[in-house]
């Protein structure tokens, strides 16, 4: 009988740390509540209560995360395994970033067209689901969980992109994202399979043991690493796997773009950090040069691509490609400083992009110019509460001092120089130099060009840039104080953390220590 014991042990229930799991449970539970509440009748419930519940859910996830801060635990530990997820400070930082983005996106969606057309309950529930997937992706320390998280975050996003279903571009965006995203997922899965084949293990710890001493010439392992890089590269829009980014960002409803741009990137980088800095740490010599090359390509492609854009959303999409390149520098060096710099930059990236996208949302509602850069003309004089956040966001993205973006770049360059990649630091600043050309253009339009003429601004229901399909209901009288609020708060935070970065740096430093790297 004794020789059955291992078999029996293998099917015992894994021990679950419920407290550690609580942020994820909150997100899932909240999404179910939101979904059901959305089924109720009553305009007030659907249009006010449902978004409020979504906000409460994101808030709960943050609160539970604060509770679990500094209690690193493995979740779902089966006997003999490491546990499929790990809730450490890195996971929690990603949870915070995702949840804050979720709060911003919910506020931006509150009176937007997309949730009306997609039914409010479904819309917010999918956003919460996707957020839960992101947390799982960042927490995963097992190849299967990793893939599960990736799919869980992706599938709701494909749908969310297409929620403005009477607008052709939105549908196109959803379809494009679905197809390209699926290619990315498939590649990623293939890579994970090869990693499993090479190491005989799905746990990150097991892989780390198998890889110990370097990858050598193990073709299976190296191919697996390469394909995993490609798969995550798709999600994080790393060149040359970025082609979907501008189209999808432009086509998707802007609140969804906000969520997608910031949260997906945070989750993908969280996963990349864990995969490379824990599971594949001993193969550092093999993947670091490749990632550094990718970072260089990404920085150049993203910044050059952004130069000629006239749509702000496309511009931000290309800029997000470039930012992904900067972020990679923190992964390349595989050090605690690198993790810290990456996490800090992700948090800063959240603030900058939320501020910028909120202003785009506001101007989309106020003018008929959509997300064209002309919609921003002259708002320095007429709408300072929108102009200042956008200016701060642009200056921060460009890395001008006194903004959080500067401290973020400073950290990344510091991490690169510290890890022996000073040349990558120089590439980052060269990228920043190119980026000035387009960020400054946006700033110049806001402050230095006259406001567009009355006909262009007027007519929310009039000649909209992209034609709507039949049956679109012209939405009249949509106030947007909450959009201005989001922009102002994010803009103020960009300035605040540019001058007093220490609180955020401390959080990032805790996250940086999560892996026990030097």
């Amino acid at each position: 009988m004794t020789h059955f014991a291992p078999m029996l042990a293998a099917i015992t229930k894994p021990s679950i740390d419920w407290a550690g799991l609580s942020p994820i449970i909150a997100l899932f539970g909240g999404s179910l509540v939101v979904l059901i509440a959305g089924l109720l009748r009553g305009r007030f419930i659907r249009e006010q209560l449902v978004p409020f519940l979504a906000l409460a859910t994101f808030g709960a996830a943050i609160g539970l995360g604060v509770w679990q801060w500094n209690h690193a635990t493995d979740l779902f530990v089966a006997k003999g395994s490491q546990g499929s997820m790990r809730l450490d400070d890195l996971t929690l930082m990603i949870t915070f970033i995702v949840s804050v983005t979720g709060i911003a996106a919910t506020l931006l969606s509150w009176r937007a067209l997309a949730p009306r057309e997609a039914a409010h309950g479904e819309y917010y529930a999918m956003m919460l689901w996707s957020a839960a997937g992101m947390v799982i992706l960042a927490a995963a320390q097992n190849l299967v969980t990793l893939f599960l998280g990736l799919e869980l975050l992706s599938i709701p996003l494909y749908v969310l992109c297409a929620t403005e279903m009477r607008r052709e571009r939105s549908l196109e965006s959803g379809l494009k994202y679905l197809i390209i995203g699926s290619v990315g997922s498939a590649t990623f899965l293939y890579g994970l399979a090869l990693l499993y084949g090479a190491s005989g293990n799905t746990d990150f710890q097991g892989i780390a043991q198998a890889v110990a001493g370097g990858a050598g010439n193990d073709v299976l392992l190296l191919t697996g690493i390469a394909l995993a890089i490609v798969g995550l590269g798709f999600k994080a829009s790393v060149a040359p796997f970025h082609q979907w980014t501008p189209d999808v960002y432009e086509g998707a409803p802007t609140p969804v773009t906000t969520f997608m741009a910031v949260a997906t990137k945070a989750a993908a980088f969280g996963a990349a950090l864990r995969l490379f800095d824990v599971a594949l740490i001993d193969a550092h010599a093999d993947w670091a040069p490749a990632l550094a090359t990718l970072a260089t390509v990404t920085i150049v492609v993203g910044n050059v691509g952004a130069l000629s854009q006239s749509s702000v959303k496309r511009l931000l999409a290309w800029s997000s490609v470039a930012q992904a390149g900067y972020l990679l520098a923190g992964v390349v060096v595989a050090s605690a400083t690198g993790v810290k710099a990456t996490v800090f930059y992700l948090a800063v990236y959240l603030l900058m992009n939320v501020a910028a996208f909120a202003v785009v949302v506001a101007r989309e509602r106020e003018t008929a110019l959509g997300d064209d850069v002309r919609a921003l003309a002259g708002i320095g004089a007429t709408r300072p509460l929108l102009a200042w956040p956008m200016t701060l966001a642009m200056l921060s993205l460009a890395g001008i001092p006194a903004t959080a973006g500067f401290i973020g770049k400073f950290q990344l360059i510091d991490a690169a120089a510290d890890g022996g990649y000073t040349w990558l630091g120089i590439v980052i600043v060269i990228g920043s130099m190119i980026s000035l050309a387009y960020y400054l253009r946006v700033v110049a339009v806001m402050w230095m060009r006259p406001a567009p003429s009355a006909e262009e601004v007027a007519g929310t229901g009039g000649a909209v840039a992209a034609p709507r399909l039949a049956g679109a209901d012209p939405v009249a009288e949509r106030g947007n104080w909450e959009v201005t609020l989001v922009a102002a708060v994010a803009g103020a935070a960009v300035l605040f953390f540019g001058v007093i970065p220490s609180p955020l740096l401390n959080l990032a430093a805790d996250a940086g220590r999560a892996f026990g790297l030097l």
């Binding site: 001008i400 510290d418 600043v429 050309a437 740096l505």
Partner: protein, 511 residues
């Protein structure tokens, strides 16, 4: 008992920020009060200053612990007079700007206040990262000042060009600064620490690292000065700034670059400074010759002053890279002189343009000297100071610079003398064509008004005052200025002795 430096540093910005929310007249009043308060402190600081006592009025608190960045400020002989210069010129130019009408004036004065705090911060900073932050930050308000209030047609392109040009240098400097701190921390085994104190204590870096870091810093400062051949932004930038803004930009911001060489580059990278001495001197010569030649060919009065600044900053660079006490002292004195000369010159250009129907072209000016003798006389003082007439403080500055170069590089000194002659040509040409000769087509000769005099007279008085007593600057600054170039000077001397022939610079390509 001394005032914390943060107060004079941030008062201009705080006042301007409050002004943002006040109605028109109150905005001006409070911004002027802010800059005057800082000026009052600066004047007091001259007399409170103790010669040779090292860094004074020190504020040093940890700002970002994780990155080792200190909020460290201090005054010593090196920056004292540049701070006074900045405070003085900003106060005068703010008053000047307040005598004109600006649309959205609240924002205008806010950016002006931000610029003043940024410049003062860069001059006071005693931490490498803090210096870089202020150095970049002080440029941002000028982007808006030129972009919003410049001439409609060309302003955005011109200012974007200026901004990118200068930030290219600044960002390279950022990498160099971070690399310095990282290398120092690996060298000493301590945590990252950007303060000048810690960097000085750690001693110089390895020669190889010094060299590329030197070039990155030099790129930032060359562009900012601007030095030939990095002056590409200058003509467009100068054409597109409102004159009160241009006056501070030209008079003060370029000096921060020169100051950066003396504060950071030469003391912290002495081997590289000695190594690249010849390259720097030749570039400085290029600036002098090119700037002078351009200054006496162009007819746009702004550009005459712009190119003359290129030439003057060439002299200042020459003095710094003589790598001896005389040259460096001359450089600081000349930096103060040039600021004091170029700002009133822009004021005069504005007044003359006003009388010439708005045109700033020299061909449209002229012939007002008889009807407006006071204005012409004030301008003559400025012009004579600009050409370094014996008796002026500029003469003392240039003399010291040339003396310094004479001791280290005879040939370069000989060529630089040509520049002194050329300065006379362009200064007098500007003066004669602007106020003498036949009366320009649209010129209405009027004497200087009281309101105009309020701006111009203090500036000219400062020139005269410094001409009578240049010792004020020289005596107080001497110990620290000499110290900043000592190490590099010794290295340069010893290499010159070792090699029978003077070492030829390997002007290696920039990394």
């Amino acid at each position: 008992m001394s005032l914390p430096l943060s107060i004079p540093l941030w008062i201009p910005l705080a006042a301007a920020f409050v002004g943002l929310f006040l109605p028109g007249v109150a905005t001006r009043a409070i911004t002027i009060l802010g800059s005057l308060a800082t000026l009052a402190w600066a004047v007091w600081a001259i007399f409170d200053f103790q010669r040779g006592a090292g860094l004074q009025d020190v504020t040093d608190i940890m700002w970002i612990k994780e990155l080792g960045i200190h909020y460290a400020l201090g005054v010593d002989g090196l920056n004292l007079f540049l701070i006074v210069l900045a405070a003085f010129l900003f106060a005068v130019c703010t008053i000047w700007a307040a005598t004109r009408e600006w649309p959205r004036s609240g924002q205008f004065f806010f950016f002006l206040g931000l610029a003043e705090s940024g410049v003062l911060g860069a001059l006071m900073a005693q931490d490498l990262a803090l210096f870089v932050i202020f150095f970049d930050l002080m440029l941002v308000p000028f982007f808006f000042l030129a972009g919003i209030w410049g001439p409609e047609a060309t302003r955005i392109q011109a200012i974007t060009k200026l901004f990118i040009y200068t930030l290219v240098g600044s960002l390279l400097m950022l990498v160099a600064a971070i690399a310095t701190a990282v290398l120092v921390s690996t060298q000493t085994g301590n945590d990252l620490d950007f303060s000048f104190k810690a960097l000085a204590a750690a001693g110089p870096l390895a020669k190889g690292s010094q060299e590329w870091i030197f070039l990155c810093f030099a790129a930032a400062f060359w562009v900012k000065m601007p030095a030939f051949p990095f002056h590409g932004w200058m003509p467009d930038g100068y054409r597109n700034m409102p004159l009160p803004v241009l006056a501070v930009f030209s008079a003060v911001l370029s000096k921060v670059a020169a100051y950066g060489f003396l504060r950071i580059v030469v003391p912290f990278y002495p081997d590289a400074s000695a190594h690249f001495q010849d390259l720097m001197l030749i570039l400085a010569l290029g600036s002098i010759l090119y700037g002078s030649a351009m200054a006496f060919t162009t007819t746009e009065s702004r550009l005459v002053l712009g190119y003359s600044s290129v030439a003057q900053l060439g002299f200042i660079t020459l003095g710094i890279f003589a790598l001896n006490g005389d040259g460096a002292q001359g450089a600081i004195l000349q930096a103060v002189n040039h600021g004091l000369v170029v700002a009133p010159a822009f004021v005069v250009v504005a007044y003359l343009a006003h009388r010439a129907g708005g045109s700033e072209d020299l061909r449209d000016m002229g012939g007002i000297a008889f009807r407006a003798p006071v204005l012409a006389t004030l301008f003559l003082i400025v012009a004579l100071a600009n050409l370094a007439m014996p008796g002026s403080s500029n003469f003392v500055g240039e003399f010291l610079i040339l003396l310094g170069v004479f001791h280290s590089k005879l040939v370069i000194c000989a060529i630089a003398f040509v520049g002194v002659g050329m300065a006379a040509v362009y200064s007098l040409r500007l003066f004669i064509r602007a106020v003498h000769n036949r009366v320009g087509p649209e010129v209405a000769s009027r004497e200087i008004s009281a309101r105009e005099g309020l701006v111009l007279v203090p500036l000219v008085a400062a020139i005269v005052g410094l001409a009578l007593y240049p010792q004020l600057v020289l005596h107080r600054g001497e110990p620290e200025i000499t110290k900043s170039v000592r190490a590099a000077g010794q290295i340069a001397d010893s290499t010159a002795q070792q090699a029978a022939a003077p070492a030829t610079p390997t002007a290696s390509s920039k990394p």
